[in-house]
Point group: C2
Chain length 533, copies 2
C-alpha cells in the first residue's frame, strides 16, 4: 500500500511552519571564530545556509590562514599575526611528513607531542593577537552580534564569546582527552565508552577495559599542557579566574559531527546535536576533466585515493610502494598527490593536485576509497556507500578506521608497516568481496534515514541560540556542582557516618543490655545459692 | 532583513525528500499493545498519522477497556478477560476518591500501595489472558507485523513483542523507580537528576541530595513487587529466564513524552526520542456550546478546570470548598465535574461532563488553568501559554507541579489542606500577576521552537523501526555488561591489586635494602671499634 499523500501534507506543512516560524524570519548577525584546516571546510556550508536565510555573518581569522579565504556569503575580518601563511603551511606539511618517519614508538610519540606543543603555541599566539587587538575587539563588541559560532578544538572562540558576552554554538568533531564530555557534563562510563586514541571498541575485553580506565585516569593531565594556556589567556582577558572546563562548558549548543553508524552508542546530553555527515550533503556534477577519467575507467570503475587536505605528499619510497600496489588492480585510481611523480606509476593511476572527493565517491562507478580516515572522508564514504581501505595517520583517524573495520565496511592498514601486496590485497578484497559493499550500504541507508538533514539541523540550532540568546533550559545543573558533589561523595560520606553512629549506638546498647541481663542473672543465681546454703 | 526564500527551498526540499524516502513509501503492518487510561489518548494520534501514511494498524486490548474503543483508522482486536469495563471504571473512581481521604500520611501510603498492588494484579491478569489466548496469539504471529508500538508502563507489550520476535517502539511518559533509566542504560547521577516522587528540583540542597540518594537506594525494591510479576509471566511464556530489565531494555526506540522546558536537563541515550507536547498539536475550533460560554465570559475571560480523565468527581465537602473559591473571581470557570452539583456553586461556574481542554486553553480568552498537573495537561498549558494552579493528586503529578512552580509558571496547592481562600488567592495571583503569564509564554516559545513537530518525530521513528527491523546501531554496549563490569569494579579491583602488590614489593625491597645497609653500617661501626681497642 502506498503512503497516503494526505498524510504527508500535514507532515510537510508542520515542518514548513516550523522553519517559517515568525521568530526565524528576521535576519540576525552572527560572529564566526573558526579553526583553520579541514575543520573549516564543513563549517562553511552552515555559514552559506545562514547567509541565504538572511543572516549577516562575520568571520574572524588570522592573516596567516591557509583555508579561510574571502567568501561571497560572509565578511572576512583578518587580523595581523607575527607569522605568515607559509609558516602554517609548513606546520601542516611537517605534520604530514612526520607521520611517515619510521622511528621507535616512544620516540615518535615524544616527537609528535613536542611538535603538537610547538604548533599549538603558534596558534595560541594567533588567539592572543586577536584578543589583544583592541580596535578589532571594540568593533566586534559594537557589532550587534547575537551569537558566536566557533570550533572549540583550540578554544579561542569560547574566550571571544565570553569577552563579548554572547551565547556560543560549538561546531566540532569532538575534543581530545574527553574534554567534550567534561564540557557538556556528559557521563561516559569507561566500561563501554572507548577513550579517544585507545582504538578500543565498545564491547571490550577485560584488558581493553583496563587500558580504557588507565587512559581515563591520565586524560586530564595529557591535554592540560596545551589547554591550560587558553585558560590563562582567558583569565587575563576576562579579569577573572577561568578554567578549561569553564571555557568548554560555555557552549549553549554543541553541534557534534557524529552519527551512530560510525560512533559507538553512548550517553549524550540535551544540548548535544548530532550532525554527522553534514559535509556530504551537497553533491555537484563532475567537471569535464573528472567526468572523462570516470568514463574512461570502463566496467572496472574507479578508486578514489586521498590522504586529506593536510597530507598531499609523502616520502618517495612510500609513494613508490603505493604506486606499485595501485598498478595491480584493474580499476582506474584517482590519486590526490602533489609530490613528485613516482617512477613506477602504472597507467591506471592518475595523479591530481585536487579532487572533488564527495562527488567522485557519489558516482556509480566508485568501487573503493583509499582514505586516511579523517572524519570528513569517512562520512563521505558512508553517505555514498563506498567500501574503504583506511590508512590512518594521526589523531582520531586510528579510532575512525577501527570503527569502520569493526562494522565490516573496510580494511585498516598501518601505513608504516604495510607492503605493496598488503595494499593491493586490501583493495581487491573491498572491491570483490561483496560483504564490504553490503555492510557500507547498510550503514549508508541507516545514516541517511533521518528526520532532518544535518545541515538544516545545524542551521536551526544556530538560529535557535540567536533567537533565545542561548539555550539555558538545556544546561544541566551538574555544571553548578563540585566534583565531589557531582559524585555524591559528601552524601555517601554522611550516610556512612549515620550508619556507623547508629551501629555504634545499637552495639553499645546491646552490650549495656547484655551486661545488665548477665549481671542480673548472675545476681539471681547467686542469691538463691546463698539462701539454700 | 527577511530570510531569503531561496534558502528555505532547499531546507524544505531536504525535509520532503527525507519524508518521501523510497523506503518510507511502502505501507507496513504495525501491532499496538496500549495501556488503557490517559496513556492511550496521546498514542492514538500517532496511530492515526501512521494510518494516513498507508500503514495497517492492529490494536490489541482487553474487552474491559474503558478508553480504548473501535476507531476508523485501526483494527481493534479485543480479547476476553474475566472482568468487565465497570470493574476497571470502579478502579479509576476508587483511585480518584482515595486521593481525597484525609488519613495520616503513612496510612495513606500503605492504603495506596495496597490499592495499586490489587489493581495491578487485575491488569496483570488481563496480560496473562492475552498471552494465553492461543488463537489470538497465533493470529498475531501470522499477522505479518513489522513492529510493536507499546506503552511499557505495565510491560505486557514488551512480552508480546518478544514472543512474536518483533522489534518494539516504547511510547511513554517515563517509568516509576527509574526503570526507564535502567531500561535504556541511561546514567542518572542522583546529585542533580531528581528521582520521581521526590519532588526535588535539579539544584538540590544537601538534604535534598540525601533524600534523592536514599530514594535511589530503595527504588529497585519499591517497584519489584509489581514488575517482577511481569518478569515471571514473561519467563513462563518465553520459556527462558527473563528479568524486568530484559523486558525494558528490549525497546529499540523510546518515544518519551518529555521536553526540557518541563523536565530538568539530564543525560539521555541515542535511542531516546523526546516528543513532549505531542498531545497538544491538533487544535480544533470550539463547538457552539463552548464557543457560547467563552463569548459570554466578556473581558475577564475563562478559567479551565479539570482534574484529568480519571478523576471527574470528588467528595462533596471538597467540591463545596472549591465552588466557594471559584465564586470569588470574575472569570467564567468551566469545570469538568460529573459529581452532584455543589449547593454553593456561583453563577460564574459552569459544570460540564467533558470539555475540549486543549482547544479551550488555546482560546485567547483563557486566563488560567486549574489542573491536577498530569503530564498531558501540563503540556497543554505550556503549548497554549496559560498559567496554572496545580492540585497534584498522585503519581508524577507532584513532581510536574513542582517543576512548573520552580519555573514561575504556576502555583501548587495541596488539595487536602488548601482552604477556599488559598485557591481563590492562587487564581487571582496567576491571572493578575504578569510574571506568571510571562514565564509560561517564555516556556511556550521555547517548547514550540523545534526542528520537527513531536508527532512527526514519533511517526518517523516508528517507521524507522519498521523499515530497519529495529535500531541496533543505537543500542549501547552497556546492555551486555554485568553491573560490576558497567561500574568497572573488576577493573578498579584489579588495578588496586596491582598497586598493592607493587607497593608491597617496593616496601619489602626497601626494608630488605635498609636492613642490608643498616647491618653493614653496624658491622662497619663495630669493626673499627674492635680494631682501635
Amino acid at each position: 500500500m502506498a503512503a497516503g499523500s494526505q498524510g504527508l501534507l500535514p507532515l510537510i506543512l508542520g515542518l514548513m511552519l516550523c522553519v517559517l516560524s515568525p521568530e526565524g524570519s528576521q535576519g540576525g548577525k552572527l560572529l564566526v571564530v573558526p579553526m583553520d584546516g579541514s575543520h573549516w571546510l564543513s563549517m562553511v556550508a552552515v555559514i552559506q545556509q545562514l547567509h541565504q536565510r538572511g543572516h549577516e555573518v562575520v568571520v574572524v581569522a588570522p592573516s596567516s590562514s591557509v583555508f579561510i579565504k574571502e567568501g561571497a556569503f560572509y565578511t572576512l575580518k583578518k587580523f595581523p599575526v607575527p607569522f605568515q601563511k607559509e609558516d602554517i603551511e609548513a606546520i601542516f606539511t611537517g605534520f604530514g611528513y612526520g607521520v611517515f618517519e619510521n622511528e621507535p614508538f616512544l620516540q615518535r610519540v615524544i616527537k609528535m607531542y613536542k611538535g603538537a606543543k610547538k604548533n599549538a603555541a603558534v596558534l595560541l599566539s594567533a588567539c592572543s593577537h586577536l584578543l589583544h587587538n583592541e580596535e578589532l575587539m571594540a568593533s566586534l563588541a559594537a557589532g550587534g552580534f547575537e551569537a558566536v559560532l566557533t570550533d572549540p578544538f583550540l578554544p579561542c572562540g569560547p574566550i571571544v564569546a565570553q569577552y563579548l558576552s554572547l551565547p556560543a554554538v560549538y561546531f566540532l568533531n569532538g575534543l581530545p582527552c574527553s574534554l567534550d564530555f567534561r564540557g557538556t557534563q556528559c557521563p561516559s562510563p569507561p566500561s563501554y565508552v572507548p577513550r579517544s586514541l585507545s582504538m578500543n571498541p565498545d564491547h571490550m575485553t577485560f584488558l581493553q577495559r583496563v587500558k580504557n580506565m588507565l587512559i581515563t585516569f591520565i586524560e586530564p593531565f595529557l591535554c592540560n599542557a596545551i589547554y591550560s594556556w587558553y585558560a590563562s589567556l582567558a583569565s587575563e582577558v576576562l579579569w577573572r579566574d577561568v578554567t578549561v572546563q569553564d571555557l568548554m562548558s560555555f557552549g549553549s549548543i554543541w553541534l557534534l559531527r557524529h552519527d551512530f553508524v560510525m560512533q559507538y552508542p553512548r550517553p549524550t546530553m540535551p544540548n548535544i546535536v548530532f550532525i554527522g555527515g553534514i559535509n556530504c550533503i551537497s553533491q555537484k556534477p563532475l567537471s569535464q576533466e573528472f567526468e572523462a577519467y570516470v568514463n574512461a575507467s570502463g566496467e572496472h570503475g574507479i578508486v578514489v585515493f586521498s590522504l586529506g587536505s593536510m597530507v598531499s605528499q609523502i616520502p618517495e619510497k612510500k609513494a613508490m610502494e603505493i604506486a606499485d600496489a595501485l598498478g595491480k588492480i584493474p580499476q582506474t585510481v584517482l590519486w590526490r598527490y602533489t609530490g613528485s611523480r613516482p617512477s613506477n606509476l602504472a597507467n591506471n593511476t592518475i595523479l591530481v593536485k585536487w579532487l572533488p572527493q564527495n562527488d567522485l565517491l557519489g558516482h556509480p562507478k566508485a568501487r573503493a576509497f583509499i582514505t586516511h580516515s579523517g572524519s570528513h572522508g569517512i562520512y563521505e564514504g558512508i553517505c555514498n556507500g563506498v567500501p574503504m581501505v583506511m590508512m590512518p595517520l594521526f589523531g582520531d583517524q586510528m579510532d575512525n578506521a577501527k570503527r569502520m573495520e569493526s562494522r565490516g565496511a573496510g580494511i585498516t592498514l598501518n601505513v608504516l608497516d604495510m607492503t605493496s601486496d598488503d595494499l593491493a590485497n586490501a583493495l581487491k578484497a573491498v572491491i570483490n568481496d561483496k560483504s564490504y559493499k553490503e555492510n557500507i550500504m547498510r550503514l549508508s541507508s541507516l545514516h541517511k534515514d533521518r528526520p532532518v538533514e544535518p545541515l538544516d539541523l545545524a542551521v536551526f540550532w544556530v538560529e535557535f541560540v540567536m533567537r533565545h540568546k542561548g539555550a539555558p533550559h538545556l544546561r544541566p545543573a551538574a555544571h553548578d556542582l563540585t566534583w565531589y558533589q557531582y559524585h555524591s561523595l559528601d552524601v555517601i560520606g554522611f550516610l556512612l557516618a549515620v550508619v556507623l553512629v547508629f551501629t555504634f549506638i545499637v552495639f553499645k546498647c546491646c552490650v549495656f543490655g547484655f551486661r545488665k541481663c548477665f549481671r542480673k542473672k548472675e545476681h539471681i543465681k547467686k542469691t538463691p545459692k546463698s539462701k539454700t546454703h
